[in-house]
């Protein structure tokens, strides 16, 4: 007989019924009538990255995802791959990124986006508590799907780290509610079939997944992957509560536009969202 998930130590704990700090902040913003904008910044990319975080916060991001670079980012397209590689070459590690993060007073909630092996290698409890001490309140681990999230969530929930789950267009109707139930902070709606990166037009699939999610949850639903500019952000936020912008922002940073360019871009997206 094959052992059960419990016997394998893989039981998935129910998410705490009360929203955490990160989610409460997004809910409050949503209730104020504002569309939510989450910006992704690769931690450790050039010495100026803390200034990029501050600039993006000042320009109107409601929360910021800090990418801790990983050697094999399978969910990321060319821009974030390059940003990660450059940051790793500059010596970025989970410890240096989180240490620096303590010194940044961005004034908005922070999440970490990285890949599971960094958490697994350091140990779930230690990784979660290091994040918390650095001011991080949520984690996005794109290679840790529902079936594998148990051991991590068991450590992260009591440590005050809200684990954001991804909901993909490929999920059948009976799967989405389970993903949503386990998601904390917000629900990350994957806008299209593919990896992170800019696209010329908003994919129809991003509206479809947003609609499917909005129909089953009142947790904040944010669309990420393939949301590339203010116009697309506004379009998708007609259905969703907001969006995540990553590659479009990081391309500007990789191309040397610096904190000023990053801030200007996010201000542009913010304005488009507010006007919609």
């Amino acid at each position: 007989m094959s052992p059960t998930l419990a016997e394998e130590g893989l039981t998935i704990p129910d998410a705490p019924s009360e929203p955490g700090e990160f989610e409460r902040s997004l809910r409050a913003t949503r209730e104020s009538g504002r569309k939510l904008l989450v910006a992704y910044v690769t931690g450790g990319l050039h010495d100026e990255w803390p200034d990029v975080v501050r600039a993006v916060a000042d320009a109107g991001a409601d929360a910021i995802e800090i990418g801790i670079p990983f050697s094999d980012p399978v969910m990321d397209g060319p821009v974030i791959q390059e940003a990660s590689e450059l940051a790793l070459r500059d010596g970025a590690s989970p410890v240096t990124v989180l240490d620096t993060l303590r010194t940044i007073d961005a004034g908005v909630p922070l999440a970490v986006m990285t890949y599971y092996n960094l958490a697994f290698h350091m140990g779930h409890e230690r990784f979660a508590s290091l994040m918390y001490e650095a001011g991080v309140r949520a984690a996005i681990l794109p290679d840790l799907p529902l079936e594998e999230v148990g051991p991590w969530a068991t450590a992260a929930d009591p440590a005050g780290i809200e684990t954001v789950m991804l909901a993909a267009p490929t999920a059948p109707d009976d799967r989405l509610p389970r993903v949503v139930a386990r998601s904390r902070g917000f629900v990350y709606a994957v806008g299209l079939l593919g990896v992170t990166g800019e696209r010329d037009a908003l994919a129809e699939s991003s509206l479809v997944i947003a609609r499917r999610l909005k129909a089953i949850t009142d947790k904040p639903v944010l669309v990420g992957v393939g949301v590339s500019n203010g116009q697309q952000a506004a379009e998708v936020s007609q259905v969703a509560d907001g969006c995540v912008i990553g590659s479009a922002l990081m391309r500007r940073v990789v191309e040397g536009e610096g904190p000023a360019g990053a801030g200007a871009f996010i201000a542009e997206v913010r304005a488009a969202l507010d006007a919609s």
């Binding site: 893989l10 094999d72 989970p94 410890v95 697994f120 350091m122 290679d143 079936e147 490929t170």
Partner: protein
């Protein structure tokens, strides 16, 4: 069956699992169900067996190496997977997966390749079955295995360089997974080894158990119903090794996997998660995956299939390491004594036998000759001058 099925979560002991982006979870579940159903369907098995016999040329023979054995003082038997169509064991798995993909209604295969053997096999199966095929190959490997790149293109496949990271097998897997995330509706990821997310390590093993099954029967005849003392094979991801081990797991034969010293996941790694699986993995102090370095593009991989991690942790198999120089010597030794030019990958297993010949004196060792050396002749010509 001599090697058990993984658990319902796809684990062999603590290793394995399904660590993939959410987008791919339904595809992995669908693949698992389709494989389970096909593998229990006699008509699928018959069709595959027919292809393995009439197209790939199975069964492959076992060759007793008289001159080599005399030189080493060890009785060496070779399971001749190098004689299969496309020149390696890879065809067993690829024919199985392509048939399954077709049965699932997929029209396109995407694959990764290191030395090019799996890429060539995938391109071959795609040509045979009228499917589209795209193969990702590290830029570095495309240079050292230019002949296989040309072969794949002749067979109608598109070959795309993986330009990120170490630009070898590890990065080709990343690119193939990224392609699959975007194309999962019409595409099957034809993974080339016993690695990746569940059900791949199990499914690919099952497609290679034909090696072990044939070897067991052939050894029974050759050795008068005795079994070999040692069964050995090279290990990168570990598909040819698990294939031959599967035939002897329930015997007293010692199972020995041989890794390149520069890519020894079992020998030098610690448990980690990459490419959809938990397994031994070469990584730095923070969990960043390290680049492997091996003369053999096919073994230039920092991880290993999860079942090998399990077999090592329970002590059923052990894993040795050999250096590039030992491999070069073994490559020449087999060519000179037996008239068989091996691929650099199985030359690793021979290098171990040669180095440990004093300990192995008088024993019978079955080695999986997983591929032929044609693809490596150019590289060896440069090394040997």
């Amino acid at each position: 069956m001599s090697l058990p099925e993984p658990s319902s979560s796809g684990r062999f002991g603590e290793f394995g699992g399904r660590y993939v982006p959410e987008t791919l979870v339904p595809a992995c579940q669908e693949l698992e169900a389709a494989f389970r159903e096909a593998w229990a369907d006699q008509s699928f098995r018959d069709e595959l067996d027919g292809l393995l016999a009439d197209y790939a040329g199975r069964p492959s023979p076992i060759t007793e190496c008289h001159r080599l054995s005399a030189e080493l003082g060890v009785r060496v038997l070779l399971k001749r997977e190098d004689l299969n169509h496309t020149g390696s064991h890879k065809i067993n798995n690829v024919l199985g997966q392509a048939l399954l993909a077709k049965r699932m209604g997929k029209t396109r295969l995407v694959a990764e390749t290191g030395a090019g053997q799996h890429g060539v096999a995938s391109a071959t199966a795609a040509a045979l079955m009228g499917m589209e095929c795209k193969v990702f190959m590290g830029e570095v490997d495309m240079e050292r295995q230019a002949l296989n790149v040309f072969r794949m293109r002749l067979l109608g496949a598109e070959v795309v360089p993986a330009m990120s990271g170490s630009r070898t097998l590890k990065d080709a897997v990343n690119e193939a997974m990224r392609d699959w995330v975007a194309t999962v509706e019409n595409t099957h990821y034809c993974l080339g080894s016993v690695m990746g997310p569940h059900p791949y390590p199990w499914m690919v093993r099952e497609f290679h158990t034909v090696i072990g099954k044939e070897s067991r029967e052939q050894c029974a005849k050759l050795l008068d119903n005795e079994i070999p003392d040692v069964v050995t094979a090279c290990v990168g991801g570990g598909s040819n090794a698990i294939g031959i081990f599967s035939g002897f797991a329930d015997t007293t034969a010692e199972l020995v996997g041989v890794e390149p010293a520069g890519g020894a996941a079992v020998g030098r790694g610690v448990p980690g998660v990459v490419h959809g699986m938990k397994s031994y993995l070469m990584q730095d102090e923070f969990g960043q995956v390290q680049e492997a370095h091996s003369i053999s593009a096919g073994l230039d991989y920092p991880g290993v299939g999860p079942e090998h991690s399990h077999l090592s942790s329970i002590g059923r198999a052990r894993y040795e390491q050999v250096t590039d120089d030992e491999v070069i010597a073994a490559f020449q030794l087999l060519s000179r004594t037996e008239g068989i030019i091996p691929a650099l990958e199985p030359a690793h297993a021979l290098a171990w036998i040669s180095r440990d010949r004093a300990k192995l004196a008088g024993k019978t060792v079955l080695l999986n000759m997983s591929g032929r050396g044609d693809k490596d002749v150019g590289q060896m010509m440069e090394i040997l001058g």
